[in-house]
Each structure stands twice: as structure tokens, then as C-alpha cells.
Amino acid sequence: MANLSLKGIQKIYPNGYHAVTDFNLEVEDKEFIIFVGPSGCGKSTTLRMIAGLEDISEGEFRIDGKLMNDVEPKDRDIAMVFQSYALYPHMTVYDNMAFALKLRKLPKDEIDRKVREAARILDLEKLLDRKPKALSGGQRQRVAMGRAIVRNPKVFLMDEPLSNLDAKLRVQMRIEISKIHERLGATIIYVTHDQTEAMTLGTRIVVMKQGVVQQIDTPDNLYSRPCNLFVAGFIGSPQMNFMDAKVSVDGENVTLAVGEHVLHVPEDKKQALIDGGYDGKTVVLGIRPEDISDDEEFIKANPDCVIRSKIKVYEMLGAEAYLYFDVEGTQVTARVNSNTQLRQGSDAVFALDMSKIHLFDKETEKNILF
């Protein structure tokens, strides 16, 4: 397996469009890196530059210290799983998996051993004589994985490999991919726009927007310490609630006014607001739906961070319920226990867990607290 280094990578198309701007990333051996972001954010383009399918306009890409910018895809020792699987329709499953090994002129018995080993790992042994047309979506996906595994490459690249599968199969295959990563100790770079895949699979996640890296961090940190409004809104489902809040500094006491609601900022978050000179300014208050509580005891214990509203929509999801309501014209979502008594039209009182709030500069959109 391998270390990857991407320094100042840029992709500029002939028409001047910057698809990727100043992309920097160091990937350690055995890491599972996820590129995530909305459509058109440059994640697939970056992956294709790593694969050698797109030219790198500027910057340096190295595998194990060796400059790869002008190296042909076949000489990069990478394997790629495509969104469409890209299985050769005229070849059997066996031949699809053996193709790369045949091109490398490996002995027949070694090819056979490797293909059968990969087939065993992926439970494809009974399908080796079939052609892709005779396989289900999940089986095709496994063959595409098998084709990558047999080569034992330095790096696995996966371009939205689960996006063509139905929801149930996607969960199964997500687990399979995770197991394969464990088993092979592989370095994997994985592109997805599905944040659940990103959060569950990745050791580190690269969040991109309009060709620019927003944050590179572990799933936990991305969730709990998003560096800006975009990351905070993109990671998490339902997404983080955002409300405009006016900061008031009165000696040691710092409050946030969201319309009529006055919220007291806890000790550990005060200093950043004071030091940043936010007194009298409006900031964006971010709070995740699960950090808004309708629990009576919690509300009693935190009387200085209460908001009141009328429930507009109640969604029961079994183990939990989503409550949608407005605060000063902004829609807010609370994720509460399913035994809540609140229903559509109820007058509700919530308390915010102020230790979990995020504060963003309204102009720069950067997280003030980190």
C-alpha cells in the first residue's frame, strides 16, 4: 500500500473554468479517505486526476514520493471502481477480474489463484462463468470490487460505487467495503455525495465546494467542529439549524438574542466572541437538531436558553421524532424522543444545549469558536 501526496493541485479547463483549486492532501498508508460534496464540487475530477484520467493543470501528485503527474494510468499501480461499474460486457466475471493480470502477463495458475481468492472474499465463486448482463446490481458491484482487489494495487479509487444500488443493498455493500478495507489494509480514496457513506466509511473526510477544499478532518471532528457554515450544513442529517443572533457583551455576561429569545452563552464560548469584537454584531447560531430538547427537566435546568414556538410539522420515525417549527421566520428542526407529547399545532418550549452550539461569522461564514 502507499502514501499519497497532493500539493497545490489545480484543474483548469481550456475554457478557463477552475474545476479544482489549490487542493492539498497527504494520505497515509491504509487510510480511507472520502471526498464528499455537492454535485460539481470537483470531487470526481480530483479522483480522476489521481487516476490519471484527467491531466493535472498545476501542482504535484506523488505516490510514495514518486511524481505521478505525467505517468500513464496503467503505470500508477492504482485500481478504480466506477459508478457504472464499467465491467466489460463481452467478458465473463472471471475474465473481467483476470483481465488486468493477463495484461501483466502473470502465469496462468497465479491469475487463477488470485481471481478465485478474490471471488471467495466477495462470494462470487458461483458467478465466475456469467457475463455482467446476467448479474444483479449488487453482484456487478462486487465484481467491480473484485476486479480491483485481484490486482493488489497501491491505491483503490472508488467513484460513487454504491450510488446505483437500492437503499438496502447500499447499506450491505457499505459494510462489505468497510470489511474489505479492514481485511486488505488498503489505501482507499472514495468519492460520494452521500454523507452517511462518508461518515461511516472514512477515516478522514475531505469536504469540497466549488472546487475548493472546505475541511479535511475525521468524521467526528467534521460533525462536532465544522470549520464553516457550509461544512456545518452539509454534514449531518437533518442538517444543522441556523439562526441569526445578535451578540451582547455585558461585562462577564454574554448573550445571544434570537428575536425575542435571549440565550446565555456558556463560559467556554464567551471569550471567542469577546476577543473577536462581536459585541453588538449579528452572528449565525448553529445548533444540531438533537441538541434541541423538549425534555422538561432539561428545560428547568437551563432556563436561560429557552425558545418557544408552535409546532408546524410532526414526523414520527419510530425511535425518534422530528419536530419542525419557526423561530423568527427561520425553520428549525428538533430531533426528540418518540414519546414526546408535542404534535402539529402544539405550543412548544425547547431548551438549547448551549454547550453544543456553533457560532459563525456572518460575513466570512467561518466558525468563530474554532
Binding site: G52, Y88, A100, R104
Partner: protein, 292 residues
């Protein structure tokens, strides 16, 4: 309205398939069956009477040396023409799908010869072979240079050349569709798997273009076997009847020598040969065909 009745189904069938069926019957089926009937007569193509002669026309056709010589010549011509048409068409298609600048202009340009009628094309190329090339050759060699059309092998070569020029552009379009039908991700997967461009072409692109190959080879075989217009205008069968192809022989037999029955029988034999080769090629080609 009851949709499961025979009369409803018949009406539906006639409404949709009727016009085409009537036209197809009028211009293909009826003339074919009537032609088949004429092979058993000694009709001269003019008189009212059509005396029945049984299989005499077929026996006469099988004994006709010039007919079989023309068939042999047609086989040689077709073999060279079919191979060259398809090789040139494939290479042109590769060129105009490789992202070369002005590829749409080239696609249109290469297709244009197919829009010119065979007769006109033959006369144009006759001028080129007899005048332009001769003048060019004489200017270079500083002496007398004979026309390519003046020798038997040269005339056949010219026929092949003009056919390639005429049909390659048309076949190119089918190959272009074939190239475009092969997903880019398959080509990229091949590159990542370790293919050089030529290996990717040989192992991935060409096998997935099987449908295009089957179609183009079938079309070129059938067209070459029954070529008449270019044969007439370019060589007229000359020199010394050495470039008379099967269709021209059949035409001459029926309409020049007024032996309509034998001519028709020879046409039918040509049809059978052509059909057997064409169908065999399609059957073999279609085996193992896959969706790209």
C-alpha cells in the same frame, strides 16, 4: 370496443402494417415471385407468349462459362472491396471520433461520395483514371503512360477503388455510432487495468462494436455482389469483357441478348449466393454479440 376480437386485431394490423406491406409486396414480393416464374419460361422479354421450359434456364445458367467467370470476378472484387471498405471506414470513424478538430466537417465530407449516384461517380472517376492520372503520370514519367482502365487487372482495381471511395463514408457513419456506443468508462477502466491504447482498442472497443461490424460487412457484401451502375459507367465491362461483374452479365443476358429466362435464372442464383454468404456472415457475427 372489444379489443380481443380477430376483426379488431386485423384492423389494427392493417392500419399500422398495411401500407408498408402493400408497398413491399408491390415492389419486392410480387416482382420476385413473378421473376421466379419467368425463370421457368423462355420469354425473350418482348413477346406476349412465355413458353414453359422447366429447368432449362437453370441448366443453361449452370453451363454458362461467362456467367461463372463473372461470378468469380465478382467474388474477387467483393473480397477486396468489402475488406477495404470496412478497413477504411473503421479508420475514418476512429479519426472522426478521436476528438480531432473539425470532426463534424470531416464526417460530412467523407459521407458525401455516398450521395453521388453510381453512374455519375463512375464517369467522374473514368475521367480521373483516363485523363487526370494519365496526364499526371506522363508529366512525372516524361513518356506515354497507359490508363489503369486499359488492363483487366487495372480495371478491376479501379472498380474496387471507386467502390471504397463511394461506400466507406456510409459505413463510417455506422462505425462512428459503434465507437460512440462504447462507454468512456469502459475505455478508462481498460486504461487503468493496464491497456495501451491499441490493447484497449483490440480487447475492449472492437469486441463491443461487433454489431457495427456485422451490419457494415453485411451491407458491403450485398452491395458489392449486385454492383451495376459503377461497373457500367466506369468500365462498361472493358477491356475485352474482363471487368464484367455478375449483375452486369445478368443484365446483358436478359436485356441485351434478349434471353430473359436465363438471365432471370442467373439473377436468382446470384441472389441465393449473396443471401447464403450474407446470412452466414450475420449468423456467425451475431453469435456472442453483447450490449455495450
Amino acid at each position: 370496443m372489444e379489443r380481443n376480437t380477430m376483426s379488431y386485431k386485423t384492423k389494427q394490423f392493417l392500419m399500422f402494417a398495411g401500407p408498408a406491406l402493400i408497398l413491399f409486396s408491390m415492389v419486392i414480393i410480387i416482382p420476385f415471385v413473378y421473376g421466379l416464374y419467368l425463370t421457368f419460361t423462355s420469354w425473350d422479354g418482348v413477346s406476349v407468349s412465355k413458353p414453359f421450359v422447366g429447368f432449362a434456364n437453370y441448366i443453361s445458367a449452370f453451363k454458362d462459362y461467362y456467367y461463372w467467370a463473372a461470378i468469380g470476378r465478382t467474388l474477387i472484387y467483393s473480397a477486396f472491396a468489402v475488406i477495404l471498405i470496412n478497413v477504411v471506414a473503421f479508420l475514418l470513424a476512429y479519426l472522426v471520433t478521436s476528438g480531432v478538430k473539425g470532426q463534424n466537417f470531416f464526417r460530412a465530407g467523407f459521407f458525401i461520395p455516398n450521395l453521388i449516384g453510381g453512374i455519375v461517380l463512375g464517369y467522374v472517376w473514368k475521367f480521373v483514371f483516363n485523363r487526370a492520372f494519365v496526364a499526371l503520370g506522363e508529366a512525372i514519367a516524361a513518356g506515354t503512360v497507359p490508363s489503369l482502365l486499359s488492363t483487366p487487372s487495372g480495371a478491376l482495381f479501379c472498380l474496387v477503388l471507386v467502390s471504397v471511395w463511394q461506400y466507406a463514408g456510409y459505413m463510417m457513419l455506422i462505425y462512428v455510432a459503434g465507437f460512440m456506443g462504447v462507454s468512456d468508462s469502459l475505455k478508462e477502466a481498460a486504461m487503468i487495468d493496464g491497456c495501451t491504447p491499441s490493447q484497449a482498442m483490440w480487447n475492449v472497443t472492437i469486441p463491443l462494436m461487433r454489431t457495427s461490424f456485422v451490419t457494415c460487412i453485411f451491407l458491403s457484401i450485398t452491395r458489392c455482389f449486385v454492383v451495376y451502375d459503377v461497373n457500367l459507367s466506369l468500365t462498361k465491362g472493358e477491356p475485352f469483357n474482363s471487368s464484367v461483374l455478375a449483375a452486369m452479365h445478368v443484365y446483358n443476358k436478359a436485356f441485351v441478348y434478349k434471353d430473359y429466362g436465363t438471365g432471370q435464372a442467373e439473377a436468382l442464383i446470384l441472389f441465393v449466393i449473396c443471401a447464403v454468404i450474407g446470412i452466414t456472415q450475420v449468423y456467425v457475427g451475431k453469435k456472442g454479440e453483447v450490449q455495450a
